[in-house]
Symmetry: none
Subunit: 382 residues, 2 copies
Amino acid sequence: MRGNISEIKWLTMTAITFTLTAISISAYAFKRKWNDMNSKIEELEASLKSCSEKCASERQGRIRAQQALREEVTKSQPKSENLNLTCYPMMPIGIVHSCFSTRNGTPRQPLLVPLARACLVFNTTRVPPASLEGLEEYSHCWILYVFHLNTDLDKLWKHPSKSGFKAKVRVPRLKGGRKGVFATRSPHRPCPIGLTVAKVEAVQGNMVLLSGVDLVDGTPVLDLKPYLPYCDSIREATVPNWLTDDNLLSVASISFSEDFASALEKCWIVAEKKSLYASPGEFQSLIKQVLSWDIRSLSQRNRPHDALLNENGELLGNASDVDDHENAINSSEIIYHLILEGLDVSYRIDHVGNVIVHNVSPAVQDNKHSFFNYLTWKDKLQ
Amino acid sequence: MRGNISEIKWLTMTAITFTLTAISISAYAFKRKWNDMNSKIEELEASLKSCSEKCASERQGRIRAQQALREEVTKSQPKSENLNLTCYPMMPIGIVHSCFSTRNGTPRQPLLVPLARACLVFNTTRVPPASLEGLEEYSHCWILYVFHLNTDLDKLWKHPSKSGFKAKVRVPRLKGGRKGVFATRSPHRPCPIGLTVAKVEAVQGNMVLLSGVDLVDGTPVLDLKPYLPYCDSIREATVPNWLTDDNLLSVASISFSEDFASALEKCWIVAEKKSLYASPGEFQSLIKQVLSWDIRSLSQRNRPHDALLNENGELLGNASDVDDHENAINSSEIIYHLILEGLDVSYRIDHVGNVIVHNVSPAVQDNKHSFFNYLTWKDKLQ
């Protein structure tokens, strides 16, 4: 009986021990696997973090680059816009410092005003003075320039193909009639390059003194070429009939008010330093030459009797612009203004074209360009 | 005693059952945790994969954008380089399709070769045909164009201020003497804009037929202006003495070989389709006009007797280039080439200036531009 019991006890013990051992072993195995998995998860989480950080920085870099690119492309629109047509960047070689401070009064064609002087100053970083050697041997030269006062230039540079340039332009001589832009010399052209001829007076260093110019002060110059009569002068060239009846109206007479001389003397003290003219007398001759042609616009000429004046008798606008006709007056009472070398020349003109120049005073906004002293040229011009 | 044994048995059983239950429970817990972890790992691995993919694409995008930016910046160099001088982007308004396939043979000045025809084709996206209305009323017009064959253009566009343009250029008439570039019409100018006059033959849609041109085929045109004799023709203009002794050598005589006519007839079958000329006869007159001026370069003219020929008698170079003078021959044996409308016209010229045109054949590299059928103009020209 005793053997029986002890046998059972042993059996039980063995069973329990065995079971416990089995448990502990599997537990241990589990534990190891467990740790492995935890570390793997930690690892994965870490690399995920760094990856998303890297991704963010790449993204930022991409955005920055694309923004910069967009800017650059809009800057150089013409190139990207018209892949089929090359766009040639033309950088001016110099600037014209002319006696004509504003467009108003600038002659409608070259050589009309012999005393109309300008100093073409070359940019020495681009054009060494040696490149002007021999120019003084020619009597005349061509000036290729940019119509820099066109208000639509920016649009033109940014979107040449979209530039709102008009295919047909109003022609003064046709009293508002329209012609294709390439049948005219209008400044509003797809490539706003102007062509004019001038007299070569003197060459000095990086400066060329010109006369007979029709260029407004500050005009950027692209090129200067000698005038070759055997190529450039075509006597037999013909023009349309509408051009032959020349409407460059010359005025009947020009006189100066009594006080004019003294007014000019006063201005001259300051003006002389930066003038292209030797004396008040020479400057007065310039005024005379400029005003010997009726420089008023078509509208000014056609309905001066509708004009409105302020209390000083200065032109405000045209009656057509307003309802009130009370101030409408006679053209001979209108005061017109011409700004030469930063001096404001005021004059009247009557119905039959007699001009009375009655005053001269420093213009409100002075001519910032003509800082050239006549004396620079004195020896050359004598 | 019996109770004792049964008690022990029960105890053992309970113990084992309990243990096993405990094991199964913990095992179940482990199993669940285990699955959770596995799915988490799968999750993490998936998001890591997608993240690194996203990162790669961002990186590619960044690189592409930066490359494009670099390109764009170098393209618009002039702007960034010279902040002080505005750079005006000038986009051609059209292309000249001229009879002169190469520079060699292109007249040295306009109107020298009356039959020298060109068709100026305007880019309609920039220039509506209406802008040409009225042009046909003028006999002549100015063409402002780009010297597009200048080899130094790229440098000029990219670094206008650094462009290696020479201040002084050799002048053919001075037998190599040098003058300032602005005292010449040299194409190598800071702004490589050319100015030439041409006869207006006809205007049709967006095309203008010109004659008397000195423009090489493919010339990009910036502007066209009507010729105004009262502004542009200056009879009294004077030039330096070195220009007055005109060295446009006219030849003594021009004759054609017996086989020439038949050779031209053969070429004409193909050439006619894209020709600006009505018949082989008219094309032959063009050849006669072009060759009536000695179009050889100064060096070709001055030392032909030193010239070297290949077995076909074609000009290889000058003896000065090599030591061996064996092949040196007489100028009358040299074969010169003139390419008009893609046809290679070969001729000889003797010491006293008698020209013998002996053959014509399609040029190796054909003129890709002149695809204009004369018939387009036939009605206009009659």
